[in-house]
């Protein structure tokens, strides 16, 4: 049996000030370490997803659409080019959602790991930001991969198309922050997943001008797009990847909408984390 001496009481060892300035990064480091356990699966999905979508809907269905609309195209371009920026933003949103909702429920409920983090100098705010940063990281590389596939499919027409990467990540960040705040409030996640999947994610995906211009929807359904981060990011993405016409005012509106959602999401997430941990 070992006779290891355990040292104790070195009041100088831990530098609480250092944790106060870098805490969120420590949390993100640990989260990324967990992510690495699944990295091949995540990367596989991140590459397979755009390939499958762009082939089936973009090229398959797109071929039919391009035939019937003629040389005018959809919004002036091939259907594939029209569709791709929406899927790019959707990939970012899905990525941040997976990386905020599940870890948050796990941290508070399934394994209660947030409580063990909070027993260190880390605060609820830092834990919340750390989880969020990790989600951003995941959204970023998912979007970069998606963008690469879009390029390979010839879905990019503008030289500044790469700017669609940050706007897609921005949309993911806005939605992810809000979802993280919601997930932090959950006591019963089962109902949440049903509601989220069927009544939030699905309608947002279908009714955000993803597969057709929002304006071709009946007016009374268009509001779904207006409140959807996916629509705002898609409009920006289309503008950047092929020059979809939007007024400068609307560009501001899109950024402002996503920005407000992000700030509110982060604010409430930090607050709910702090409150729930201190109960």
């Amino acid at each position: 049996m070992s006779l290891t001496q355990i040292r104790q009481g070195s009041l100088v060892l831990v530098d609480a000030a250092r944790v106060q300035s870098r805490g969120a990064l420590y949390v993100a480091q640990a989260r990324i370490r967990q992510m690495m356990k699944w990295i091949w699966l995540i990367l596989g999905i991140a590459i397979a997803n755009p390939i499958l979508y762009l082939i089936s809907v973009g090229i398959g269905l797109g071929g039919l659409i391009d035939q019937s609309v003629g040389p005018a195209g959809v919004d002036g371009v091939k259907y594939l080019t029209f569709l791709a920026p929406a899927l790019l933003a959707q990939a970012a949103i899905q990525g941040t959602m997976d990386e905020t909702v599940f870890p948050t429920i796990e941290g508070f409920k399934w394994h209660k790991t947030f409580y063990s983090m909070n027993a260190t100098p880390l605060s609820g705010v830092q834990i919340s930001y750390g989880v969020f940063l990790t989600a951003l990281f995941r959204a970023f590389y998912t979007v970069v991969l998606y963008f690469g596939v879009m390029w390979a499919f010839g879905a990019l027409e503008s030289p500044r198309a790469w700017l669609a990467i940050p706007t897609a990540v921005f949309a993911g960040a806005s939605f992810g922050a809000l979802m993280q705040a919601l997930a932090a409030r959950l006591e019963d996640e089962n109902i949440f997943f049903v509601v989220l999947g069927r009544f939030v994610m699905m309608p947002l995906f279908m009714f955000s001008g993803t597969f057709f211009p929002l304006t071709s929807m009946p007016f009374f359904l268009q509001w779904i797009g207006w409140i959807s981060p996916l629509w705002h990011a898609t409009e920006l993405g289309r503008h950047l990847t092929y020059g979809h016409a939007i007024s400068p005012t609307m560009i501001w509106v899109h950024f402002l909408f996503l920005g407000i959602m992000l700030v509110l999401g982060l604010f409430f997430s930090a607050r709910i984390f702090t409150k729930r941990l201190a109960k």
Binding site: M1, S2, T4, Q5, I6, R7, Q8, G9, S10, L11, L13, V14, D15, A16, R18, V19, Q20, R22, G23, Y26, V27, Q29, A30, R33, Q34, K37, H111, K112, T113, Y115, S116, M117, N118, A119, T120, P121, L122, S123, L277, A278, K279
Partner: protein
Amino acid sequence: MSNPLISARGLTKKFGDFTAVNGIDFDVFKGESFGFLGPNGAGKSTAMRIIGATSQRTSGTISILGKDPELHGPQIRAHLGVVPQQDNLDMQLSVAENLYIYGRYFGLPRKFVKGKVDELLAFAQLEEKRDAKVETLSGGMKRRLTIARALVSEPEILMLDEPTTGLDPQARHILWDRLFRLKEQGVTLLITTHFMDEAEQLCDRLIVMDKGTIMAEGSPASLIKDYATKEVLELRFGSDRNQEMGAKLRTMCDRIEELPDRVLMYTDDGEALLEKIYAADFHPKTSLVRRSSLEDVFLRLTGRTLIE
């Protein structure tokens, strides 16, 4: 005596209408092993979470390492090692990774933590499980890992909430051995438990809690001396007759407790009392003479047993 590491006065915590901790006072000194003994729901865990500077008190004062947890939570937590009632380990990571990331949460340098991980794996007797996923560990191993994790920052105070609840006897003994070593090395331990044998083994001093208040305070030996007799004679007459026989035996000793399954007679000489009982023509089905324990102290103080 030197200044206490922890000092609480009138400490109170309410959840809505429910008062979990009701105005308790206590001091914990350096190098001491201090226990909270009480049944489930006595307010021990709530008190621990306040001392752990994560849960805020409703009223009263508390100072931990000279600081107020409401104002200096992170600074206090930097010097505490916390072992919660439920192991909240990271199930997806390996044993060594769990220790490593936890050290990083304290902002400790990578190199230092790496050395510390080896040291703690040896302490927790988990060297062979170094790369195993936490999911695959037994309950006792998880518990040892949680304790090792709490030591990664070389804390000033190690707090253990129900350290051996849910473990089998062998795992408990291994754990007690580890904790006893820490105690020998002068680590300040704060332990909650509803096992009297655990409190007797590990605590220098303890408070007995019930319904959020302190019923008594002292060393295990002094509490037994003050609130119980040297020995206890346990008699069983069969479930339906214990009550009735207890009433008849009442005059034969200082104090008697009639429990549903047995009668407890408090005396300084159990064997002598038993002889007297046989001589008086009573015939219990079984009899047992034992030393008084904290269980008896608790029964005396609250009229209830610890584990109900």
